[in-house]
Symmetry: C2
Subunit: 272 residues, 2 copies
């Protein structure tokens, strides 16, 4: 899926919502625990209830790995169940020496057929480039994350006057075009989005941190939207755990619909 | 396993060798491909042939993930097969928001029972701390890696005059003691080891990049050894792929023995 196709999906659905499938066995409704694969059973109902309201799903691999080999199977089944026209992101935050990143790319793009994978920049260009060698596949590079710890290294000022996350943007945008590379930009740092748009005006940004983490959708849209929307805004826990009862999928749909309704208005207001 | 126990193993075996189990289905001897689990069959023979020569094994998770759920099973079986007195490192380079890092910690320390996991520092303190909440378990934080891309961000000079990897050392050493935290320091940057020992004199360093990546064992030992050795030096491909024939385990043993012999001399020479 390229940038134009993603933008088409956004305008058709009037939504730039990404739903995080951070499915924790300890938090799903108890009636699902008797299912053969409770994690997949939960995801299946969430997908059925929300797939017309979002343009992307983003399973975070930690939740599946914490279940061992069985979790990896639940992830594979979930990915196969997601309708083909919806963008899929492995939130894996991988990154290793080139030889090894090649294997991670093989895992997420060839074995599992995700459209995109999140990658950590610390190890530099040769750790990221193996993920960039696929047609129609995306790297979503961590730039400025939504957690408090972003202050420790991402916000350090370098001798050139740029902060470390700005150096990540400036260097990495030379490694690929805007049909292959996006950035993770935390919504809890809306004040930085103006600066980020100066540095990468054309790139899509994946914005986590709206919802449970407290980011502001309107501010993000006002400062971050470009002429192809250029935003995927993620919500996870506020949607998928809206209820712990049998009505969890219905309530998840209500939450997703609320956000999609806001997004529809924001697209009307801010899309150039 | 704490620092004293690790040092005891090093002095008993006269070795600070860590063997990287970076087992790639495309590189193992062809006669193993008819086994039910070729990856585990390969690892089992390597472990049998080398476990008296090394103090640690380090499977890189990328190689197992690239095989899907089956690969995850091979990893679990490998870990269970490693003798209990040998230190085990999941080379996973994980790191995510706190909520999610907690699940990675659960995966590697509780589900799989590794002694240590490598963690990427980019997301800062709250992404690392969930891994630090276990007795007798270790975080091995990326500081200065062995690949060319280390120049992109790790070696950037900050306004304070420190490079980014030095900031990683200075900040993170406040998060835990030297029985819980080690650092990854690439052997291809031996020149930096003097500086690193100024900043973290007491910590163990995991040094990849000796062997296939070309690091210098003698220089590393001279500059990096402290009074509890303080070094785990990793070799992967040069040992496990020493031969592609039926004698692969025997040849792996020869390679490991060669390095262990050098290490025995270096311990005599440089251990204070």
């Amino acid at each position: 899926m390229d940038k134009a196709q993603l933008f088409k999906a956004i305008t058709e659905k009037k939504s730039f919502l990404c739903i995080g499938l951070d499915t924790d066995i300890k938090r799903i409704p108890s009636h699902l625990l008797s299912e053969e694969d409770p994690i997949f059973a939960f995801n299946k109902e969430i997908i059925d209830a929300t797939s017309d309201l979002c343009v992307a799903y983003k399973p975070n691999t930690a939740f599946y790995e914490s279940m061992g080999a069985k979790g990896w199977e639940s992830l594979q089944k979930t990915l196969e169940y997601i309708p083909k026209e919806i963008f899929t992101i492995a939130d894996a935050k991988r990154g290793d020496i080139g030889n090894t990143s090649t294997l991670y790319a093989r895992a997420f793009f060839e074995e599992m057929k995700f459209d995109a994978v999140t990658v950590a920049p610390y190890m530099g260009s040769d750790s990221v480039k193996p993920f960039l060698g696929y047609d129609d596949k995306w790297v979503i590079l961590l730039a400025l994350t939504s957690n408090q710890g972003n202050i420790d290294f991402q916000l350090l000022e370098t001798k050139s006057g740029n902060r470390v996350f700005e150096e990540v943007l400036l260097k990495s945008k030379e490694w690929a075009d805007t049909n292959t590379l996006m950035y993770v930009v935390g919504a809890t740092n809306a004040a930085y989005i103006v600066r980020i748009r100066q540095l990468v005006p054309e790139h899509f940004l994946l914005v986590p941190g709206v919802g449970a983490q407290g980011g502001d959708l309107k501010a993000i849209s006002k400062e971050g939207m470009n002429d192809q929307c250029g935003l995927l805004v993620n919500a996870s826990r506020s949607i998928i755990y809206a209820s712990k009862e049998k009505d969890f999928a219905e309530r998840a749909r209500d939450e997703a619909a609320k956000i999609q309704g806001e997004m529809s208005q924001l697209l009307d207001e801010y899309l150039p």
